[in-house]
Amino acid sequence: MPATHPSPTSAGKTPQSQVRHSQTRPLLMVLVCTLIGAAAQVLIKMGTASLGEHPSMMATMVGIFTIRLLFAGYALYGISTVLLVLALRQGELSLLYPVFTLTYVWVTVLSVIIFHDSMNAFKLAGISTIIAGVAVLGRASRQ
């Protein structure tokens, strides 16, 4: 019996801890996550305007289901979470989580395009520095 039915924990854990997977694929998956996450955040930011000045925790929770923009935003959040979990199956958390910050880069770019926010030297420097930081992780993922 034990030979044919390994326990769920060992079945799930052994391949992970023994084999060191390439981190490139999980990294690319998280990259897609950040794009979806940025779209989600823009929708949520647009949706929170409908919540009024001082929304209670309850009003916010209900709003997620009743305000179309908020709902769409959280639905996209859901999709990006599923992708994140799939990426984490083989990827290292300490490598993938910092990549998530790319979301802010996309949000900044989207804000310039959609909300006509100004682009300035600080924002450009910030975007470049974050992308360079992610590139460092990208290089590390191949070693």
Binding site: P8, T9, A11, G12, K13, Q16, I44, K45, T48, L51, P55, M57, T60, M61, Y74, Y77, T81, L84, V85, L86, L88, R89, E92, L93, S94, L95, Y97, P98, F100, T101, Y104, V105, V107, T108, S111, D117, S118, N120, A121, F122, K123, L124, A125, G126, I127, S128, T129, I130, I131, A132, G133, V134, V136, L137, R139, A140
Partner: protein
């Protein structure tokens, strides 16, 4: 740029920082759950680590919505990105991952980038 800092209440910052801490723990549970992920209903339903991870993740998003409602995104983003530091710590402590030099360098650069983004905020 100083006006955006002044117009962001302390309470918003606290909501967002709390969200980043909870979110970083959520990420650890998601990772532990993902490692045990098998695509059948029974194991999905009994994967409590995944459930805890998702609940923490949702909770951090709700805190984030509350924080962002009254503050400037440009001030709050650098605070959220501090979550990367917590997550590096937890990855070492709870998951036994190697903290290599590129990871520290990258997180340092990313934090600096977020501060710059904040300074450039309208």
């Amino acid at each position: 740029m100083t006006t955006s800092v002044a117009s962001t209440p302390i309470s918003s910052m606290i909501w967002v920082i709390a969200g980043s801490v909870i979110g970083s723990f959520g990420a650890v549970f998601l990772k532990m759950g993902a490692e045990r992920l098998q695509l059948n209903l029974r194991s999905l339903a009994t994967n409590w680590r995944l459930v805890v991870g998702i609940v923490f993740y949702l909770l951090s998003s709700v805190l984030f919505v509350i924080g962002v409602k009254h503050g400037e995104l440009s001030v709050l983003y650098p605070l959220v990105s501090v979550g990367s530091i917590w997550t590096l710590l937890w990855s070492k402590l709870f998951l036994g991952e190697d903290l290599t030099k590129p990871k520290f360098v990258a997180v340092g650069m990313i934090l600096a980038g977020c501060v710059l983004l904040g300074l450039g905020g309208s």
